[in-house]
Amino acid sequence: MGAAGQPGAELEHDMSDAMATSLQTCPRCGEEVPDGANFCEACGTQLGEVTEQQAQTGLKVEGSESSPISRPTHLLTDTGEPATRRPCAECGGTVGEDLYCEQCGTKAPSEREHFRETPASWVAGVCDRGAKRTRNEDAIATVASEAPGERCVLVVLDGVSSSVDSDVASLAGARAARDVLRVPTGHGLGTPESREAAVRKALTDAAAAAQGAIVAHTASDTESPASATFTCVLVEAEPEGPVLWHANIGDSRAYWVPDTGPAVQLTRDDSAAEALIAAGMDAEEAHRSSQAHAITRWLGRDTEDVVPTIGRLPLIEDGWALVCSDGLWNYAPTPAEMADQVHAAGRAHPDDVEQVALALVQWAVQAGGHDNISVAIARMGARPVGETGSQTADPADPEE
């Protein structure tokens, strides 16, 4: 796995511990599960060190105002919210022990088929199987400070469907990357240059950790080793204001959608279409080509090129940071179309960021849901007046 930093090495150690228990059975249904599996294939129960509660709520990181270079991880705390089964997505009814809705009978997705993270009131992610695929090979992982806008990490991996166990590998990869970035980045000597170098190293380490986790979850002799895209957004408060960093390998995207003004696609896909455009082909024609969707870079045992493309954007306005898999952006390929959906979802759910992410996923399912859908969003700044005031028309609303 090449350039694994300290966190990556820790991760490997953890996994070898997990693998030492050679015969693992699901604590819920008793089915045998492969070593190191994150979910029971039979009943969908989450396994291993990560509890269901953590998967649903994410983990919180405490304030980073005085970030030392190496921050002790004991400052990370669980949210302590009780783990409960979500109500039925179809009718809102109670989901029974047998995982079917007690009202309408709809099969509740397993935790791997549909999971959410809401690490803080301003950050949320939803990862969903979609309507057509039999498995959810996408994965998300998030972490955020309690204080809105201070610091968050959004990670999306899109497992390649033709590869073996890419659902297990992508989730392990996403969490490994998040865990590298959970600790606030060291600022070196505090100069802009040293800060940038530290962040670039952290993002590169995160990709390397994801790579390490994916490789660790892939049998060495498999013909189609698990592979996944990698896209990560890191928002950090700097003296001049919040800065968004993005890193990607493959075609999962990061967007900045300001409340006013045009949205921007921050990442460039590592795809055949982009390669054709770079070679001079007309963009529309390139996207229509049969191989447009083929990715040219990915994480997995069959690649060594795992250094992400990194970019930086100072955030001078309020708006939404968005990371998503192609299961979402296929239905809104241009930044303007994506912005329309983000704004619509935001207006519909003025008080709940998780519902905004869920609305985007549901919109993609409605649009066809041909692929797995991952959405991770962070709200920067207060909601615009229009989002809370225009529909409710509350004259007493103090917001101006």
Binding site: C91, D98, C101, E102, Q103, C104, G105, T106, K107, K132
Partner: protein, 425 residues
């Protein structure tokens, strides 16, 4: 302690737009124990003997012996009574005028009851409704008896108006179970089947008086093996779904659909009576609103419930698929029992048409019955049908009605029409 298990046989795949889900749910009970001996409550047995004037001397003697054979099978400690019936019902044993009308079985009470049976004489009419009512009152007189079963023997047509009998059946429903036997050929199958079906029992013909003792012994032995006093089949269906039917299909076909007792908005309970170590099959048919391709949902939860405790559960599912090879096959069990249910209907309708003089309809229905019996491998039905019709071609169902048919053979075909066979699994 009895243990129940449920197995579901179905093709859960539905085509695009498909709405109807069919499943066979097999419920199996093991470790049922002995009636009244499991600590859950006492068992009670009542033997009802027809003593109407139509019972000849030979029938009467054989009926008495049969009743005594049944007594011998009743486990000591079980509450019991003997009722003799003609135009009215009489408590033949125990000899009481007030208070509890049943006593516990012991060597002494068995001997007393046997002597009482020996003294019975025949005379008078047949008012089965009064027999059922007295039986109910006797069970009510001993509240600790929670498992209530009776054997009813008759040889003739009921003299009461149909609505009088139906009212008595209605009063007995849910109170006790009755296995009915008709001796000779003067009784009406339809009438006695109505009693047995509603009171969760069996019906059969005893063509010859000397066969009575064996029959009674078997019935009582079976009843004593039912250590589970009462169980309910519960069927949950999702909101907006519609139950097309719920039907027991093995060991016999019994329509349960109309016997639904609402538990809540989505769940209904159907009575199943007492259980021995045995296995019963239920056919559940549910109509759902079609969902999109690739969607999965639960079509029914089928549970066996005793005293509000779920002892077994089977899940009937629906998955919509565009793959014709998945959606096209009909589950083997569902197909088999669908055929067996139609077989029962064809036999009953065919015999009814025959007795009404409609030979064309009778030939057509019984021909279809021969075809179904052949296809589903129901050899008993095939053998009984061949005594009523001459079969030209079983495969196509081409038959001719026999010119002269023994009345007993026709009644045997009728009473056995609801018996089904299983297919090998």
């Amino acid at each position: 302690m009895a243990e129940f298990s449920a197995t579901v046989y179905q093709n859960e795949y539905l085509p695009d737009g498909g709405t109807d889900v069919n499943a066979i749910v097999t419920i199996t009970c093991v470790g049922a124990g002995v009636a009244g001996q499991t600590g859950a409550g006492d068992a009670g047995e009542i033997i009802i003997i027809d003593t109407s004037g139509s019972m000849g001397d030979l029938e009467m003697e054989q009926a008495k012996q049969a009743a005594q054979a049944a007594l011998a099978e009743i486990v000591d400690g079980t509450y019991f009574a003997v009722v003799s019936g003609n135009g009215a019902a009489f408590l033949a044993y125990p000899h009481v005028r007030t208070g509890p009308g049943m006593v516990r079985m012991s060597p002494q009470t068995r001997a007393e009851a046997s002597r009482a049976i020996a003294q019975l004489t025949s005379g008078g009419g047949t008012a089965i409704g009064t027999w059922l009512d007295l039986t109910g009152q006797l069970f009510y007189s001993v509240p600790q008896v929670i498992q209530r079963h009776a054997i009813l023997l008759t040889d003739g047509e009921n003299n009461e108006a149909p609505e009088v009998l139906d009212a008595a059946i209605g009063r007995a429903m849910g109170v006790y179970q009755v296995d009915c036997r008709g001796v000779g050929t003067s009784w009406k199958v339809e009438e006695i089947r109505r009693i047995a079906t509603n009171l969760l029992g069996t019906v059969d013909i005893i063509p010859q008086p000397h066969q009575m003792s064996d029959q009674f012994r078997d019935i009582m032995r079976t009843s004593m093996a039912r250590g589970v006093a009462e169980a309910e089949l519960r069927v949950w269906t999702p909101q907006g779904a519609h139950i097309l039917f719920v039907r027991q299909v093995s060991p016999t076909v019994e329509e349960l659909t109309s016997r639904r007792r609402p538990i809540n908005d989505l769940t209904g309970g159907y009575p199943t009576g007492a259980w021995a170590d045995e296995s019963r099959d239920y056919h559940v048919s549910v109509r759902l609103a079609a969902k999109a391709l690739g969607q999965e949902q639960l079509a029914a939860r089928v549970q066996l419930v005793i005293h509000e405790q779920v002892h077994a559960q089977g899940l009937v599912k629906a998955k919509w698929s565009a793959d014709h090879s998945l959606t096209a096959p009909i589950d083997e069990q569902v197909a088999h029992y669908t055929g067996q249910t139609e077989l029962a209907a064809m036999i009953q309708e065919g015999l009814a048409a025959k007795s009404a003089g409609d030979d064309a309809t009778a030939t057509q229905k019984l021909g279809r019955a021969v075809q179904l019996a052949e296809q589903t491998g129901n050899d008993e039905a095939t053998a009984k049908l061949r005594k009523v019709v001459d079969v030209e071609d079983a495969e196509t169902g081409t038959v001719r009605l026999k010119r002269s048919v023994e009345r007993a053979d026709e009644m045997a075909l009728d009473t056995a029409s609801t018996k089904t066979t299983r297919i090998r699994r």
